[in-house]
Amino acid sequence: MINYIYLAVIFPLIGFLINGLFGRKIKNEIIIGTIGSSTVGLAFIISFGAFLQTLSLPVDQRANTVELFTWLSANGLNIKFAYLVDQLSLTMSLIVTGVGFLIHVYSIGYMHGDKGFWRFFAYLNLFIFAMMNLVLGDNFVVLFLGWEGVGLCSYLLIGFWYDKKFEKGTTADAAKKAFIVNRIGDFGFLLGIFLIYLTFDSLNFNEVFSKAQSLSINETTFSLIALFLFIGATGKSAQIPLYVWLPDAMAGPTPVSALIHAATMVTAGVYMVSRASILFASAPSIMMLIAVIGLLTALFAASIGLVQNDIKKVLAYSTISQLGYMFLAAGVGAFSASIFHVMTHAFFKALLFLGAGSVIHGMHEEQNIQNYGGLKKYMPKTYATFLIAALAISGFPGLSGFFSKDEILWYAYANGGFIFWLIGALTAMLTAFYVFRLFSLTFLGEERFDHHKVHPHESPSVMTIPLIILAVLSVIGGYVGIPEIFSGENGNLFEKWLAPVYEPAEQKIMHYGFHTHFQEILLMTISVILALSAIYFALYVYTKNKNIAENISLRFRKFYNLLLNKYYVDEIYDAAIVKPIVTGSEKVLWKFTDSFIIDGIVNGVAKIIAIISESIRKIQTGIAQLYAFIIVAGIAAVLLWIIFTL
């Protein structure tokens, strides 16, 4: 199956072409949905086959390259279109196609009756195609192809309902914002790729990484490369300072938020950092920066999530926060922990989003959680699966989120320091709180919607079955990565599986001191207690005693408003960057340079010629005798000149 891995990329492309070219003609939603889902399902089967085959190979033969054709060949630059099938890319492609397949199936129910049904599935398939190129690419160019491809699909899908109102504008504005902010990050990424080519004379992963190990290159170069690549990652994976697009990306249909803006695309940055781990490990200062940015993003976004009232906004900030965790893990050198969290997060966050979609679907497009309440009895399946996801993200012991989050916190403590752990654990507590605030406001408490207008109902089984599968995965997904203190030496299967990919990086990373099992268990217990108490507090406040929440918000009025307005970051960006660029473009580039200078020169030349010819044209009288006279006068003048000079 490894040699046929390209089929896993081509099937979604075929689905995209069929739905994109003929979907309008097909019309039948069942056929379109089946084509869209089955192509992704086939891609999953192929990836899974390749996974099993790789698993059967000896450890040192697990990284295989599948070459398709030479893409670019120009004077030393030789780019092959090739796929790298190794532990990391297989893990990612299983997540992408697996979760992607479930979300495709869910979308058949969610998008039912939409006039752009075929367009939606075409875009989703195109996204899977691009994402598979991103995770499977064997060099930075194929990776970048996928990187831009997912950015395009993200744009298309955020603005899917392009005429729908969203906040101050339409969804098209949100799509534009996402695209432009991503372009800023992509610019950094491109610079990083150029610098890699300049330094290593190659863009192939194997060559670059082996040269990075063997050649003696100074740390400044490594730092610059790592910094540029990380700027790219902050754009795609919504980290400070480029996270602002992700909350607005919620303008898209909910399955899109689940697939692209929670489970897969936004983890592309984490994947890229993890893939290029050796380059990052060679730049300790950038590693530190990544850890700090990740940590700050996690805390910052979680604090905003505490007070948001739009169900999808809460989840969006939660996603940013969880992505921060992943970068924290990568920054402290725990690359496999970051990918582990990518996986578990894909399960429970996709589940949260799809559950939210189910609620929105059942509540007739209402998204404000203040207008929900008591939905438990109307949507039992959504309620149960949402509860599992909420427990998983809060780090409830035994569920998937617990294992990955705990592993990250532990590495943050072991490699980063106590303060990293402390902020991380605090964020975990905030996470548990806002998720259960969301949960209790939605499913518990008294019903706050208008019974005459809204009739909540459970979603069809085409939507609930993916929820149930994801719920199962959210529960068991963590057991592939049980920490070594419980499972013994080499008991962490996930870490063991990915270890060969990070071996070169591991050698470069400094591990501080020795830590005992006692410390690990103690810290784990503390963070679990924090999370559980936050869950209890949230349930108590939002079901039993809502006055507490109001009192707190009144008491800390200013801070509450600050959070409610998302620290005014959008406003600050608007005033500091967007406004000056827009005014500058209008006043200087358009009104002055274009209209005044360029148009002035062009029109001025024409005007001068017109003025001159206006006066000269009077010579042309049209009287033949005058012309004759001028000829005679000329001859006479020439004759006189000849006579008097010769």
Partner: protein, 102 residues
């Protein structure tokens, strides 16, 4: 013949030519302008014949025949044009047929 000096012939020729030029430039009647052009041609013929006789070279006289032939052809074409214009405009006044300019 030889008693008359060459200057006499040349002055007559020059005088005829100048009369022709002035006639072309100032007269308004197309027929008169046309006759003035013939006058200029004939003044040139006179000069050619004079030099031919004085230099004893017959080439000049042969040349005159060519000029007369061309002048005859030109007179035919020119008069035809004038008649065509007259039929169109009912005038041969040059001032009124300045069709070079719209």
């Amino acid at each position: 013949m030889s008693s008359i000096p060459i200057e006499y012939y040349l002055i007559l020729s020059t005088f005829m030519f100048i009369v022709g030029v002035i006639g072309v430039l100032i007269r308004r009647n197309a027929i008169v302008v046309f006759m003035c052009i013939e006058l200029m041609l004939n003044s040139a013929n006179l000069a050619l014949v004079t030099f031919s006789s004085y230099l004893g070279n017959p080439a000049g006289q042969v040349f005159v025949f060519f000029v007369m032939t061309v002048a005859a052809a030109e007179a035919a074409v020119g008069l035809a044009i004038i008649i065509a214009i007259f039929r169109n405009k009912m005038t041969v006044n040059i001032d009124e047929i300045n069709i070079f300019k719209w």
